[in-house]
Amino acid sequence: MDNRNTPPLEEKLQKASEQIDQHLDVEEPPLLYFETLVREEQQAWHQRLWKELMLLWAAALLMITGLALSFYFIPALFIIVQGAAAVVLLGYVWKEKREMVMVDK
């Protein structure tokens, strides 16, 4: 086979991509569709964020109440919970560091 006139594969791939772009017929929705999408999704997203924030506050309030009660009535339990929280936090930091994507500088 004579390879002298064959374009390199990289060039061939670029040309294929351009050709496919030209031949692909994409049904693009009207601007109104995107405006509705943005409005509805932003509303839904803000509602979800508020809901999650409320749940977080409720959970935090319950935990703080529990911890305050244990501090006065069962100090041993208070210390155990504090120790467990520190262990979980350290474990989480270690896991996140391990999963971090390494990118060359």
Binding site: Q14, S17, Q19, I20, V38, Q42, W45, M102
Partner: protein, 174 residues
């Protein structure tokens, strides 16, 4: 270009109309990217739709350090990989459906380019996505690593092996 930059600034400041315009301008680009990645028209439309929903939700996280279209490609790649993971269970049925759709959509392409695209689809996904991002779109290895959540070295070797496999397949059938 200047208009896009203006729209971008307004969109990041919460202007819904500017964001909608930016999404419309990039719709065909993202759709064609996903289609070239999977060859499944319906999946490409679904992934594009999910990509745009995520873009709307995360627009405040876009820092403008890369082009808006690059940011969308990154979201689309993650969305596609997630969608494929969910599909794994119905793999067989979907393979048949995918082949049918690929045939329908691509029969209009000139044969030479169809062969290249088909060879690309025959690659395993772990090679296909980096090869496509590198040689169809010209992204840097570092950018591809970010898009595919892998290491730069892994991306380099996958592009290399992917190109070797492509070369082999195209020479065998060419």
């Amino acid at each position: 270009m200047i208009m896009e930059a203006n729209d971008m600034t307004r969109a990041r400041n919460g202007d819904e109309e500017s964001l909608a315009r930016l999404l419309k301008d990039n719709y065909a680009f993202v759709m064609k990217y996903v289609w070239k990645m999977c060859g499944d028209e319906q999946l490409a439309y679904d992934v594009t739709q999910d990509t745009f929903i995520k873009a709307v939700q995360k627009i405040d996280q876009y820092r403008g350090t890369s082009k808006f279209s690059t940011w969308l490609i990154q979201i689309a790649t993650h969305t596609y990989i997630d969608a494929r993971r969910k599909q794994q269970r119905n793999e067989k049925l979907e393979q048949q459906e995918k082949e049918r759709i690929q045939l329908q959509t691509t029969k209009q392409l000139p044969e030479e380019w169809y062969d290249v695209q088909e060879a690309l689809w025959n690659l395993e996904e772990k090679y296909r996505i980096p090869v496509l991002l590198k040689h169809y779109y010209g992204f840097e290895y570092k950018e591809i690593a970010k898009m595919t959540k892998s290491r730069t070295g892994t991306v380099k070797s996958r592009v290399h092996y992917g190109m070797e496999k492509l070369r082999k397949e195209l020479n065998e059938h060419g």
